[in-house]
C-alpha cells in the first residue's frame, strides 16, 4: 500500500480523507409491493486534512452514521455504496476490493461505536480487545502494543492504567468503557478515527469527562476524526469544522465558529436556536397537588435503598422537574408515586387524599387523575392496537364512553396533539418517533388527569422533535391545567419548562425549590457539577467547564 501512495506524490499534499459525490442506497422489500430503492446518502462530498476533526450532525435518518462507515468502505445491513469515491491518502479504497478494505479497517481507519457496552466482547479481557487490531495488522508486537495501550489508558484518564486492561467489559463503568474503546481505536495509530455518537448513551456528568479525554487524545496524537452526533453543543466542543446533514443531503458545511455563530441555512438556524422556549415561571401556590413526604424505598425488601428520605411537592398546574444522573433514583420515585413500588416508609398525599402505597388498592379516580408518559414511546403502546384503540381505551375505561361519543373525543384529542383524524387507524409501527410520543400524551390526557408523570419523555427523540413535544406539553398545561412531574437528566429541558426543580443525587434530594432559586448561586457541589456539565453551544465551553469543576462525577 505505501507503494501506491509513493507512485502518486502529488497526493501527499492532498487531504487525508476525501469523499467525492458519495451516493449510498438500500433496497427495502415491502409486503406485496415491488422492491423499493431508497437513497440514504445523496451527493455528499467532504475533505478532511490531517489532524482535523469534522463534525457530522443531523437528526436520525440524516445518513451521518452511514457516511461515517462509508469512510471505511462499509455499508451496514444491505446498504450499498452505489456512487462516488472514498479517497484515503489519495487512494480510492472502494476500488481495492475486500483485501484492500481489510488492510484499511482497524489499521488506517478505526471506529468508535455509540454503545461501547454492546461493542465489546464480554468474554474477553479489555487488553486483548484493545490491542487486537494492532497485532492483526502487525503494526506492533504484543509487548509494544500493550505498552502503547497503557499509555493511552493513562492519557484518557482511566483509573489504574497498568491493570485496567486485565478487567472484563462488565467490570468498568459505561464512561470508562467508552474511553477504553477510544484507546482501542488509537492503539493501531490510525490516520482517521470515526466517532459514532460516542457520548450519547452517557450521563452529562460522565459525558464531559469522555469528551475532554477524546479531545485531548485527538490533539496529542494528531489523528484526524469524523465526529458523528445529533448534539450540536457536543460537536461544537470537539470539532474544527461542522457539516450539517438532513435526509442524506448536505445542508451546510463550514468552520465550527461560522456554523454556530452565523448559520446560513434555515435548518441550521433551527438547530442552533433550539430550546429557546418561552416559559414564564409560575409562583408556588400554597396548597400542593401532590405531596411526597419522607419516602424511603428500595428493592429486595429494603436491601438496596434507592430513595432515602425524599420529600417533594407538585403544585396544581405547575411543573416539577426532577433532575439527576442515571442511578440517582428519579425513575424509582415515579414508580413509588404510581404505586408500582410500595415504599418502605413515608406518605404520599394527592389532591387532599392519602394514596395507598400499593397500586392494587387504589381507587379508579386515583388512577385516573395520575397518568404517566414513558421514555420509549414505541414500547409504551401495544403494537397490535390502533391509535384509536390506544387513545380510546381510557375513555371507555374511566368514562364509559362508547361509539360515536368516544370517536368524537378521540378525534378531539388527536387535534389537540396536532395530529389529524387520519391517524386513528394507524398502528404504532406506522408512526414516527415524535408522533408516537404525541399519541402517548393523548392517551394520558384522555383520562383528564390532574398530574402527569413524564419519565424522560424527550430523551429518545431528535432535538427538533423533542422541542416540539416540550412546546406541546406546555401548551396543553395551559389548556388543561394539568401538573407535570418531569423526570429528566437534561438540564436544557429543565430550564425550558420547569416551575420548580428537585436535584437528586444517589437517592437523596440535594437541592429543591422554585426554578430561579435552584438555578441561582451559591450552588452545592453536585448541582454545580450538573449545571456545569450540560454542554452549551459555545466555543471553548468544555475547557472552562473542566477548569471550574468542584467534584468528580459519580461515574454511573
Amino acid at each position: 500500500m505505501p507503494k501506491a501512495v509513493m507512485k502518486r506524490p502529488h497526493d501527499e499534499s492532498c487531504s487525508l480523507l476525501e469523499i467525492r459525490k458519495l451516493r449510498i442506497e438500500a433496497t427495502s422489500y415491502s409486503p406485496g409491493g415491488a422492491p423499493q430503492n431508497t437513497v440514504i446518502v445523496d451527493d455528499v462530498s467532504l475533505k478532511l486534512e490531517k489532524g482535523r476533526v469534522l463534525g457530522l450532525i443531523g437528526e436520525s435518518g440524516a445518513g451521518k452514521s452511514t457516511i461515517g462507515l462509508a469512510s471505511m468502505g462499509y455499508g451496514r445491513g444491505g446498504v450499498r455504496i452505489t456512487g462516488g469515491e472514498v479517497l484515503l491518502n489519495g487512494r480510492n479504497i472502494l476500488a481495492g476490493g475486500v483485501q484492500g478494505l481489510r488492510k484499511v479497517r482497524g489499521n488506517k481507519v478505526c471506529y468508535v461505536a455509540q454503545s461501547a457496552a454492546a461493542a465489546f466482547n464480554p468474554a474477553l479481557r479489555l487488553m486483548e480487545q484493545v490491542i487486537e487490531s494492532a497485532l492483526l495488522h502487525r503494526v506492533a508486537t504484543r509487548a509494544e502494543a500493550e505498552r502503547r495501550a497503557m499509555a493511552l489508558f493513562k492519557k484518557l484518564g482511566l483509573p489504574n492504567p497498568e491493570t485496567i486492561g486485565r478487567r472484563y467489559p462488565h467490570q468498568v463503568s459505561g464512561g470508562q468503557l467508552q474511553r477504553v474503546m477510544t484507546a482501542m481505536a488509537l492503539c493501531s495509530e490510525p490516520d482517521l478515527i470515526v466517532f459514532d455518537e460516542p457520548t450519547t448513551a452517557l450521563d452529562v456528568t460522565t459525558q464531559i469527562d469522555v469528551l475532554a479525554a477524546i479531545k485531548d487524545a485527538i490533539r496529542d496524537t494528531g489523528v484526524a476524526a469524523l465526529y458523528i452526533t445529533h448534539d450540536l453543543a457536543v460537536v461544537a466542543q470537539v470539532s474544527d469544522e461542522i457539516m450539517v446533514l438532513r435526509h442524506g443531503k448536505m445542508v451546510e458545511h463550514g468552520e465550527t465558529r461560522q456554523i454556530i455563530e452565523a448559520p446560513r441555512m434555515d435548518y441550521t438556524k433551527a438547530l442552533v436556536s433550539i430550546r429557546s422556549i418561552e416559559h414564564e415561571e409560575k409562583k408556588p401556590t400554597t396548597k400542593p397537588l401532590l405531596s411526597v413526604r419522607n419516602i424511603i424505598a428500595g428493592y429486595g425488601g429494603g436491601a438496596v435503598k434507592v430513595l432515602q428520605d425524599v420529600s417533594v411537592d407538585v403544585r396544581p398546574g405547575q411543573t416539577l422537574a426532577v433532575v439527576g444522573e442515571s442511578g440517582s433514583g428519579k425513575s424509582t420515585l415515579a414508580r413509588v408515586i404510581t404505586g408500582l413500588l410500595p415504599p418502605l416508609s413515608g406518605s404520599i398525599t394527592f389532591a387532599g387524599r392519602t394514596l395507598t402505597p400499593r397500586l392494587a388498592d387504589r381507587s379508579r379516580d386515583d388512577l385516573r387523575e395520575l397518568q404517566m408518559i414513558y421514555q420509549m414511546a414505541d414500547v409504551a403502546m401495544n403494537p397490535r392496537q390502533t391509535v384509536g384503540t390506544i387513545i380510546g381505551r381510557p375513555l371507555e375505561f374511566y368514562f364509559g364512553m362508547r361509539g360515536c361519543e368516544r370517536n368524537a373525543r378521540v378525534a378531539e384529542l388527536l387535534e389537540e396533539i396536532e395530529m389529524g383524524k387520519g391517524f386513528v387507524d394507524r398502528y404504532p409501527a406506522e408512526l414516527s418517533g415524535g408522533q408516537k410520543q404525541r399519541v402517548c400524551i393523548a392517551r394520558a390526557l384522555a383520562a383528564k388527569p390532574k398530574l402527569i408523570i413524564c419519565d424522560e419523555v424527550t430523551s429518545a427523540l431528535d432535538p427538533l422533535v423533542a422541542d416540539g413535544i416540550l412546546k406541546l406539553l406546555l401548551r396543553l398545561q395551559k389548556i388543561e391545567e394539568v401538573a407535570y412531574l418531569f423526570i429528566t437528566h437534561d438540564l436544557a429541558t429543565v430550564k425550558a419548562i420547569a416551575d420548580s426543580i428537585a436535584v437528586m443525587y444517589r437517592g437523596k434530594v440535594v437541592r429543591y425549590g422554585p426554578k430561579t432559586e435552584v438555578l441561582t448561586p451559591p450552588f452545592d457541589a453536585y448541582t454545580d457539577l450538573l449545571l456545569s456539565s450540560a454542554p452549551e453551544i459555545e466555543l471553548g465551553w468544555l475547557e472552562n467547564a473542566i477548569k471550574g469543576r468542584r467534584m468528580e462525577s459519580a461515574g454511573n
Binding site: 409486503p31 388512577l367 397518568q371 414500547v379
Partner: protein, 284 residues
C-alpha cells in the same frame, strides 16, 4: 390510512407454492374427514375381498390384512385421526396458554406452583405416561382427547409463559396496569395479540405431535380401538405385510407424513405473515 390497502390485499391473494401445496392436502383431508360416509366406496368394517389385494380399479389402494377396502378405511381414518388430534390440540392450547399467561401475569406462588407441577409432568416421558394412564382409564375417544390434550398442554404452558413473561415486562402492559385494567384485559387484550405469532407456529407443530402421538398409541394398541380406523392403527394392522412386499402399511404412513408436512407448511406461512412484533399488520 396513507398506508394503502391495495398492495396489502394483493399480497394476501398471492400464496407461496409451499403453502398452496399444504393447503391443498389439508383441504383434501378435511373434505375426506367431513364427508366420510358419503364418499367412501365401502362401509368401514365390510370385508370386500381377499387379504392384501393389490391396487386395482375396484379397490384403488387395495385391501388390508382382513380384506377390507383400504381407501374406505383411509377416509374414515382421516375422520378419527384429525378429529382426535384437533380436539386434543385445541384442549392443550386453551389449557396451556391460559394457565401460562396467568402464571406470567400473576407471578409469585401461583407461578411457582404451576411451573413446578408442569416440570413434574414433563419429567415423565409423555408416551410412557400416556400408556400408563390409558391402560387404567376406559379406552374411548373422549379419554384419549383428554389425556393427550393435558399431556401436551405442559409444552404449551412452557412456551406461553415464557412469551408472556417477556411481554408482561413491556411498558404498555405497565401502562394498562396503571390504568387499573383487570387481569382478563391484560391477558386477552394486551398480551395475547402479541404472543400469537409464536403460538400459531407452535399450534401447527403441536397438532402434528398430536397426530404422531395418537398414531403411536394406536400402533401400541392403546389408542383408537378396532374396528374403528385411524391411520396409526392401520399401520399397525398392515405392518406384517411389509415383509411380503405388500405396500398397504405405507399408505396410512404416507398420509400421516403428508398431513404433518402440509400443516407445517401452512403454519410457516401464517407465521411469516404475522412475525413482525412491531407492526400491527404483519409482513408478507
Amino acid at each position: 390510512m396513507s398506508v394503502s390497502s391495495a398492495p396489502l390485499a394483493k399480497g394476501r391473494r398471492r400464496i407461496p407454492i409451499g403453502a398452496a401445496i399444504g393447503l391443498f392436502f389439508i383441504g383434501l383431508f378435511l373434505f375426506a374427514a367431513t364427508f366420510a360416509p358419503l364418499i367412501s366406496p365401502h362401509p368401514l368394517g365390510e370385508i370386500v375381498g381377499d387379504v392384501w389385494m393389490p391396487m386395482s380399479g375396484e379397490h384403488w389402494f387395495g385391501t388390508d390384512n382382513l380384506g377390507r377396502d383400504l381407501l374406505s378405511r383411509m377416509i374414515y381414518g382421516a375422520r378419527t385421526t384429525i378429529l382426535i388430534a384437533a380436539a386434543a390440540t385445541a384442549l392443550s392450547f386453551t389449557l396451556g396458554s391460559i394457565l401460562g399467561f396467568t402464571a406470567a401475569v400473576v407471578g409469585g406462588w401461583f407461578d411457582m406452583t404451576m411451573s413446578r407441577f408442569v416440570d413434574l409432568l414433563m419429567s415423565i416421558p409423555t408416551l410412557i405416561f400416556g400408556l400408563v394412564v390409558l391402560s387404567v382409564l376406559p379406552s374411548n375417544v373422549v379419554t384419549l382427547i383428554l389425556v393427550m390434550g393435558t399431556l401436551d398442554s405442559t409444552r404449551v404452558y412452557r412456551l406461553s409463559r415464557a412469551v408472556a413473561a417477556d411481554i408482561n415486562a413491556m411498558d404498555f402492559v405497565e401502562a394498562a396496569k396503571l390504568r387499573g385494567e383487570d387481569r382478563a384485559w391484560i391477558i386477552f387484550r394486551e398480551i395475547l395479540p402479541n404472543a400469537l405469532s409464536p403460538l400459531v407456529s407452535e399450534l401447527g407443530l403441536r397438532f402434528i405431535f398430536a397426530v404422531l402421538f395418537l398414531s403411536a398409541l394406536s400402533f401400541l394398541g392403546l389408542g383408537v380401538q378396532p374396528p374403528q380406523a385411524d391411520w396409526g392403527g392401520m399401520v399397525k394392522e398392515n405392518k406384517d405385510g411389509i415383509v411380503f412386499g405388500i405396500s398397504a402399511a405405507l399408505i396410512p404412513a404416507g398420509a400421516i407424513a403428508a398431513l404433518a408436512i402440509s400443516v407445517n407448511l401452512v403454519a410457516d406461512w401464517i407465521l411469516n405473515r404475522t412475525t413482525s412484533l412491531r407492526g400491527g399488520r404483519g409482513n408478507a
